[in-house]
């Protein structure tokens, strides 16, 4: 089943069209990445999907066309975003942040929140150590783990991630992507937007390349990883840096 399907999708910021005519598919269990340089319209795509920016075109989620979209309604449907700036409840405890991730499930009276909390703590032992600490007092990497853990507490059917590597040290980035890989193998459907194309393509099954608001390439992640144009534009500099 297709989890998410964008057809001829465009996003506007005032007079500027940040994304033009994008078509994209995410099937159940897949990990998809949307890569491209800064300002290519990757984050705008996510904001458009969530209804935070004005958009045109068709958004289908699990076969249903969604016309009026708000983040809270989509969260209720199991589509959860881990935002670029994490947007944690910084003056609240780590554990409260996690529990609030399951708010819609709690309201529906679902069982098993305790077990899921345990599962997140097993995934991120660091969070268990710091469960009573205020979220805002943790390091950037820990905050990113909390943001992901919080989203997982919602048991998302589709997990959207906006630049999970942003501002993090390489070792932490590697750990975050290792965990995302683990989630993928557990069957969580993932759409990740990244500037760190190498990490994202290693994780993903398929990738889309966005440039100046337009789709310029798409294909199997393993192929994109070896595509000369992708290497030239997105992997080259990093590759050279790594050689040093």
């Amino acid at each position: 089943m297709l989890m998410l399907e964008l057809t001829d999708f465009s996003v506007r910021y005032g007079a500027v069209e940040a994304v033009r005519g994008l078509s994209l598919e995410v099937a159940e269990g897949e990990a998809i990445t949307l890569i491209g340089p800064n300002g290519a319209g990757k984050s705008s795509t996510l904001k458009g999907i969530l209804g935070l920016e004005r958009s045109k075109g068709v958004v289908r989620y699990r076969g249903q066309e969604l016309k009026k979209r708000t983040p809270e309604a989509l969260a209720e449907l199991g589509l959860v975003l881990v935002p670029e700036k994490r947007e944690l409840f910084s003056s609240m405890e780590v554990e409260d942040n996690l529990l609030l991730g399951a708010f819609t499930r709690f309201r529906r009276g679902e069982k098993g929140l305790k077990e899921d909390l345990e599962r997140v703590y097993t995934l991120f032992p660091r969070l268990r150590e710091r469960r009573r600490q205020l979220a805002g007092t943790m390091s950037g990497g820990e905050q990113q783990m909390l943001a992901i853990g919080r989203a997982l507490m919602a048991k998302p059917k589709l997990l959207l991630l906006d630049e999970p590597s942003l501002g993090l040290a390489p070792l932490i980035v590697a750990e975050i992507f290792r965990i995302l890989g683990g989630l993928k193998s557990q069957g969580v459907t993932i759409l990740v937007v990244e500037q760190n194309a190498r990490m994202a393509l290693r994780l993903a099954d398929r990738g889309y390349v966005l440039e100046a608001g337009e789709l310029v390439m798409q294909g199997q992640a393993s192929e994109l990883l070896h595509d000369p144009r992708v290497i030239e534009s997105y992997l080259g500099i990093r590759a050279r840096e790594e050689m040093r």
């Binding site: 969530l50 708000t70 983040p71 809270e72 309604a73 969260a75 209720e76 959860v80 975003l81 935002p83 994490r86 947007e87 944690l88 409840f89 910084s90 003056s91 609240m92 409260d96 529990l99 609030l100 991730g101 708010f103 819609t104 709690f106 919080r150 989203a151 919602a154």
Partner: protein, 343 residues
């Protein structure tokens, strides 16, 4: 000033300070969740006991009302119906709102025909309660993401509207209401009205209740989450609009019950709410409108300062209390940047 005077002033300070504390808590709650400085809370505080007057047997109230339905019931019901029109896209909600509007009128009708005082007491609270959340839907919700200043302007406008309606509904006079507990108890040499203990009890209960709600219940935590990070909350399916209804609802409940308990001590009239609201606001400002404990301490400070000012120069009592704002605002603006305009 000798000890007798000090202890009498202290007793009065605690009484008014407690009411300011209840108002300040409600103001902080509403502000934290919605960024609205809800000036008309003071009006809601007097609306409840004034409505109660209509539900009292004429032998108690001394008035011949002939089963007249109080204007607050019409207002409450009208606001609910407008809410239903605004939310016409959602049929089940429209149905609930219409039923609620009719229920409010029905309860007011029953109350006005004469009921036992305790039942009338509860009915008065129930009739006034919907005005809070409905005001949020009608007047603040349409101005989504407005600045704190815009919200304040709306709130001040609403205060004038509700105060004017209060005059229309209840006239300019003060009403005497029967206390739940009559008589006085002497603490040392200071006599304290037994009714005042109910106010203290309710204040303690409110503080304990809010504390437990915000630290133990996931709903309370969700409300806090909305206050801390609206966008983050929305991404998790916590709707700030719903949080707004809940915040307005809780604040209105606290304030109406406070008003009901306080009424026998102050003989309420339509114009009294504003001063209570404003002093509650001063108290809240002492805590930066973000801290509940500081708001309570601020309220007690305002109560004490007010009694002292009244003793020193009774015509300038209120002016001195509001003058308290200046050093506090200066001090706060120098040391904090907590209340930003950003999300």
């Amino acid at each position: 000033m000798d000890w007798t005077i000090v202890s009498f002033l202290a007793a009065d300070a605690v009484q008014s300070g407690t009411i300011y504390a209840l108002l300040a808590l409600s103001l902080v709650l509403v502000f934290a969740v919605t960024r609205v400085i809800l000036v008309p809370l003071g009006e809601l505080l007097v609306f409840a006991p004034l409505t109660y007057v209509f539900f009292l047997p004429s032998g108690v109230s001394g008035l011949e009302l002939h089963g007249q339905i109080p204007g607050t019931a019409w207002l409450s019901s009208f606001l609910l119906l407008v809410w239903a029109v605004l939310d016409r896209a959602n049929p089940s909600r429209v149905a609930r709102l219409v039923v609620l509007a009719l229920l409010v009128l029905g309860l007011a009708w029953v109350g006005a025909r004469g009921v036992a005082p305790w039942l009338g007491w509860i009915l008065a609270v129930l009739v006034v309660l919907p005005i809070g959340p409905a005001s949020y839907r009608l007047f603040f919700q349409p101005a989504q993401n407005a600045s704190v200043l815009t919200y304040l302007i709306i709130a001040v406008g609403l205060h004038f509207a509700y105060q004017g309606l209060g005059l229309v509904f209840f006239g300019p006079e003060q009403y005497r209401l029967p206390p739940i507990l009559s008589g006085q108890t002497n603490l040392g040499m200071v006599p304290i009205n037994n009714q005042a203990f109910l106010v203290y009890g309710f204040a303690l209960l409110t503080m304990l209740g809010l504390y437990l709600f915000f630290t133990r219940s996931l709903y309370g935590k969700a409300l806090r989450a909305c206050a801390v990070n609206r966008y983050g909350a929305r991404l998790l399916g916590i709707s700030p609009a719903q949080a707004g209804y809940v915040a307005f609802g809780i604040a209105t409940l606290i304030v109406t019950v406070s008003g009901m308990l306080l009424a026998p001590l102050i003989s309420p009239a339509y114009f009294q709410g504003f001063l209570f609201g404003l002093k509650g606001f001063v108290a809240g400002i002492l805590g930066g409108l973000v801290s509940y404990p500081l708001a309570v301490l601020g309220a007690l400070a305002v109560g004490g300062f007010e009694q002292w000012a009244g003793y020193v120069s009774s015509p300038f009592k209120d002016a001195l209390v509001f003058a308290l704002l200046l050093p506090v605002l200066l001090w706060r603006s120098l040391r904090s940047h907590e209340i930003g305009e950003e999300e």
